[in-house]
């Protein structure tokens, strides 16, 4: 049984301009209908498999993103949607922006675009599904477990040093 048959995703709007969020919602409309892949847009981190983050990380939302990520049960994947979520985008040099999603949590798939197109988004999710299946297999075989946001922070600190 593949976990990718039933991916539930959680959408969090970081400091996005809402352009990407509209496109994320567009993916659930009749034209794109992500539900045909069994995808459900759940608002609950405890039920989610895919964390879809739009917009950059700023001083206020960094803890929220960490908390959401840590609450998600394994196996999980993180999708950075839009160039803001990938590396800060046009807001990169703003005083309050720390960077892309990967400044606080490990990101598995980067979907660029400003705004990200629903097609690109669906492609990104499909890519994430393969990673999800892989993580599940590794979980079973070698007891794999994702890094917590705290471990990720330490890892980044040692890498920077």
């Amino acid at each position: 049984m593949k976990i990718s048959r039933s991916p539930w995703l959680l959408h969090y709007d970081g400091s996005s301009c809402n352009g990407c969020d509209i496109e994320v919602l567009a993916a659930t409309t009749p034209r794109f209908d992500v539900e045909r892949f069994g995808i459900i847009n759940t608002g609950n981190p405890k039920h989610a498999d895919i964390f879809l983050c739009t917009g950059g990380i700023n001083a206020q939302n960094q803890d929220v993103v960490r908390q959401i990520y840590d609450q998600m049960p394994d196996p999980k994947v993180v999708l950075a949607c839009g160039i803001c979520a990938c590396d800060g985008g046009i807001f990169k040099d703003c005083y309050n922006i720390l960077g892309g999603t990967d400044t606080v949590i490990p990101v598995d798939v980067y979907v660029p675009g400003c705004a990200v197109r629903p097609e690109a988004l669906i492609d990104g999710v499909i890519k994430a599904l393969a990673i999800l299946d892989d993580k599940k297999a590794r979980m079973k075989k070698e007891g794999y477990r994702s890094l917590t946001s705290e471990e990720y922070r330490k890892k980044r600190e040692t890498a920077d040093a």
């Binding site: 919602l25 209908d33 539900e35 045909r36 405890k46 039920h47 049960p73 196996p75």
Partner: protein, 289 residues
């Protein structure tokens, strides 16, 4: 009392109910999607969801939560088994209520805001539908002289003819019980997620899977109740029952799609008014005739 047939029926229920309910919910979701001009998920989507949940890590908030959810699942399955084994309707409904109470306790036990709202709402919903459920059991007793499902299905004419009011009332509260619009709340899984997932918001992985499994069993039990209005001693009657159940399911999807959500006060009023007029009048007639 237990004979070979009831043992076979119970075994079939235990094994087939999750599949049957998955198909029902798959059809429901596809029909809903088509009504909205979408393609919709696969037929067995609920089954894949369930399998996924069982293979995920579960993070529980406290140990009592696990015990309560297991008890919820046990009682839900037990009530279905009693029903399909031809047992007593009263026992079925009381253990179903027990199951609900355990789930509500599980939601209260985590001490989280959204779970609590969900639990309170569930209590209100129980208050709305319980009178009708009990009345239906009484209705079956009045028209057949027995609470036993095994006796009830020995009737010569479909009971829906004797108890149309109960049937309408029961279909009405089924909308509440199956958490369909207009009597649902803005929980996630539907792109409007004001109160996250409410009742089951703090369950995850396997534990959440168990509560979903219980829901599948419950759904089959509820549809079985609809079937009971149509089953007679005629060997062809199960066919009519299945047609009736499908029709009811379609009406459920339809109402789910066309009605805006109402507040709980309206839910309670409507449910009790329907119970009083449809169920009450029918009961009165059964008593008089």
């Amino acid at each position: 009392m237990m004979n070979v047939y009831s043992i076979i029926a119970i075994a079939a229920y235990l094994i087939c109910a999750p599949f049957a309910a998955s198909i029902f919910s798959g059809v429901d979701r596809i029909v809903t999607a088509r009504m909205q001009g979408r393609k919709g998920p696969g037929l067995m989507q609920a089954w894949w969801d369930l399998m996924k949940l069982f293979s995920k890590e579960s993070t529980t908030v406290n140990d009592i939560q696990k015990v309560l959810v297991v008890a919820h699942c046990f009682f839900a399955v037990f009530s279905g088994a009693v029903f399909f084994g031809g047992g007593d309707l009263l026992l079925v409904f009381f253990s179903l209520t027990m199951a609900e109470v355990f789930l509500i306790l599980a939601a209260y036990s985590v001490n989280a805001a959204y779970s609590e709202i969900g639990a309170q709402r569930e209590l209100l919903q129980m208050m709305a539908y319980e009178p009708m459920i009990l009345l239906t059991a009484v209705g079956f007793y009045m028209s057949t002289g027995s609470f036993g499902v095994a006796q009830i299905i020995k009737t010569d004419i479909p009971l829906v003819l004797k108890m149309p009011g109960f049937f309408i009332g029961f279909c009405f509260i089924l909308i509440v019980k199956l958490r369909k619009s207009p009597f649902d709340i803005a929980t996630s899984h539907h792109a409007h997620q004001e109160i996250i997932k409410g009742l089951t918001g703090d369950l995850s992985g396997r534990i959440y899977g168990l509560s979903e499994l219980a829901e599948l069993y419950e759904e089959v039990l509820m549809l079985g109740m609809i079937g009971l209005f149509f089953i007679t001693s005629d060997p062809l009657s199960p066919v009519y029952a299945i047609i009736a159940v499908s029709a009811v399911m379609f009406v459920m999807s339809f109402t789910d799609n066309i009605f805006p959500r109402v507040k709980w006060e309206v839910l309670l009023k409507l449910a009790w008014i329907v119970t009083f007029f449809a169920g009450g009048t029918n009961l009165l007639l059964l008593t008089l005739i």
